[in-house]
């Protein structure tokens, strides 16, 4: 006689159990990653009196009062956001041009001197930014570049050029050389080949590079903190000033400002997520 069949197959039960655990783990990961951000946005939309009392994300009050207060109390914040935007866009543009050109040269040519310059490029990337602010400070004052957007653009670009060249090289490496060879047979010069053939084909690399510079330039605190005082102040710096305001922290205004600062860049990162992942992989592992 065959033994009676168990009501629930133990193997199936184990499978379900593991499945449940996995979903619990996923829920914990999501809570960890997204709850703090969702909380900022949610807090910015509730009445100031409700801010400290509830950690839940919805179901409290709903108002734009904090945004109105921000507009009234920190009218300059919107100028600072525009500063951030300009600095991020220009730093990205400059980095893309510079990295594309160098990335191509490193991808297609080799030799001792070129290798040495590539090595140098990686080495200087190791210099901690705070160490460099120290000698740059007097130089910047001497050149009257203190508190200018131009300075921030150059700084952000310089700190991301190594990564940019690296990513561009990895992407251009994947393009077949036959393309250029046939183009040069047809009589196209190097610049023409670059513009007509390589540039359109390496858009994925360009977008990946852009994500990194854009996120860094939009979010940076350190350089803005040391090198800007009035005109070129960026949004993160002003948010940090709101935290330290002498009349105590107004959480509502702070959350409204933080929301305005974070939503555009978060949307951008989500839009180009694919390229961000590709860039990280190309920039570090593929080598």
């Amino acid at each position: 006689m065959t033994p009676p069949k168990p009501l629930l197959n133990p193997r199936l039960l184990k499978k379900w159990g593991i499945g449940m655990l996995r979903m619990l783990a996923l829920a914990a990961v999501l809570l960890w990653s997204i709850y703090p951000i969702a909380l900022i946005v949610s807090m910015s939309l509730r009445a100031p009196r409700d801010i400290l009392s509830h950690g839940s994300l919805w179901g409290v009050s709903f108002t734009f009062q904090n945004y109105q207060n921000l507009w009234k109390r920190w009218p300059d914040f919107f100028t600072n956001l525009t500063n951030s935007l300009w600095v991020a866009l220009l730093a990205t543009a400059l980095t893309l041009v510079v990295s594309f050109l160098a990335g191509y040269a490193y991808s297609r040519r080799s030799g001792k001197a070129l290798t040495a310059s590539a090595f140098f490029m990686i080495m200087v990337r190791l210099l901690p930014p705070i160490v460099l602010t120290l000698p740059l400070f007097p130089a910047v004052n001497w050149l009257h570049l203190n508190d200018t957007k131009f300075l921030l653009v150059v700084l952000y670009c310089s700190f991301f050029v190594s990564l940019g060249v690296w990513i561009m090289k990895a992407f251009i490496d994947q393009l077949p050389r036959e393309l250029e060879e046939s183009a040069s047979m047809d009589g196209a010069g190097l610049w023409q080949t670059l513009r007509r053939i390589i540039l359109p084909l390496s858009y994925a690399g360009l977008i990946s590079t852009a994500v990194f510079v854009m996120v860094f330039a939009w979010n940076d605190f350190l350089f803005a903190f040391i090198f800007t005082t009035v005109d070129a102040k960026t949004a993160p710096l002003v948010i940090s000033e709101m935290v330290g305001a002498i009349d105590g922290v107004d959480w509502g205004i702070l959350f409204a400002a933080a929301t305005l600062q974070l939503l555009p860049i978060l949307a951008f990162v989500w839009m180009v997520q694919k390229y961000l992942i590709a860039g990280l992989t190309a920039g570090s592992v593929k080598g």
Binding site: A25, V29, L30, W32, S33, I34, P36, I37, L39, M43, L52, S53, G55, V98, L101, A102, A105, Y106, R108, R109, S110, G111, A113, L114, S117, A118, F119, F120, M121, V124, L126, P128, I130, V131, L132, L134, P135, A139, S158, V215, W218, N219, D220, F221, I239, S240, L254, F255, Q261, L262, L266, V269, Q273, L276, I277, L280, T281, S284, V285, G287
Partner: protein, 290 residues
């Protein structure tokens, strides 16, 4: 093929930026570290006196010690978490693309806002996490008073902020492991744990190295999180090297000591990165055969 003049021209803007903005200033820091100078005074040669001052300063050693603890904890906690999340995501996950988007989100947030939000959640009077801890019968994290709590919050914040980076590196490497290796192991009767230890871990080693060393180098620079959260206080107990440097140079206007600190910091991070850069350089830029 050897580069010609045009290729050097293409490389030059990138190199010019690096030389002018990073390399020359780095050399100048070294010279500054051998002189005594402050606002409006021209530097005067003092030899190694600044190094002696810094190395004799108990606050420097405290900052170094804090940096060592904070950096090591951040890197390894983050690494363990990222590995766990990567393994979780390598299996079946509903709405994968959206889930990855959620995990990536902290990457887009500025340090300033992440300090704001964690400060708020951990507020000793009514912050949501403090309340949650209290309902479990746990005491609040007294990060503004107790130095070790302050540093713990810095660690949590930094891990939160950089987990996406480490996660993506490990996750993409995991996806690159050929499926048939696992199938073969299953045929041989290896259980899930054995497969993880014998196949996943060894094949993941290169990506793990990249993730660890990258994070080491970057975590070493930690400034904003500490500066905005505790300002190095109370009584300079939570300073890290970058904060110590900033205070020496820009608050006490002692550029010489600041520069000496900078050079010591540089040495420490170079020592950590040296062998790795060597490996990377060999992998990346050697294709002389072509």
């Amino acid at each position: 093929m050897k580069p010609d003049r045009r290729h050097w021209l293409m490389v030059s803007p990138a190199q010019a930026l690096l030389v002018l903005v990073l390399f020359v200033p780095a050399l100048y820091v070294f010279w500054l570290s051998l002189t005594r100078s402050t606002y409006g005074k021209s530097p005067e040669w003092v030899g190694l006196a600044n190094y002696a001052t810094v190395l004799g300063d108990p606050y420097f050693w405290r900052a170094l010690w804090n940096t060592a603890i904070v950096v090591n904890t951040i890197v390894f906690v983050e690494f363990a978490l990222a590995l766990g999340v990567a393994v979780l995501f390598a299996g079946w996950i509903p709405w994968r693309k959206w889930m990855i988007a959620m995990v990536l989100a902290p990457y887009a947030i500025t340090e300033v806002v992440s300090v704001v939000i964690w400060k708020f959640m951990m507020d000793p009077y009514g912050g949501p996490i403090t309340n949650a801890l209290a309902s479990l019968g746990l005491p609040p994290l007294d990060w503004s008073v107790e130095p070790s709590h302050g540093l713990a919050l810095v660690i949590v914040l930094s891990v939160w902020h950089h987990l996406p980076f480490t996660f993506i590196l490990l996750y993409t490497a995991l996806l690159g492991i050929p499926r048939d290796l696992y199938e073969a192991a299953q045929v041989d009767g290896a259980n899930a744990w054995k497969q993880f230890v014998r196949i996943t871990i060894p094949l993941l080693v290169p990506a793990m190295l990249v993730a660890l060393v990258f994070r080491y180098i970057f975590a070493f620079r930690i400034f904003s999180e500490v500066w905005l959260l505790t300002g190095g206080g109370p009584a300079r107990t939570t300073e890290v090297l970058a904060v110590y440097l900033y205070r020496q140079a820009f608050r006490y206007a002692d550029f010489g000591a600041g520069a000496a600190t900078g050079w010591l910091m540089l040495l420490a991070s170079l020592l950590m990165g040296a062998w790795y850069i060597h490996l990377m350089y060999k992998k990346m830029f050697r294709h002389d055969a072509t």
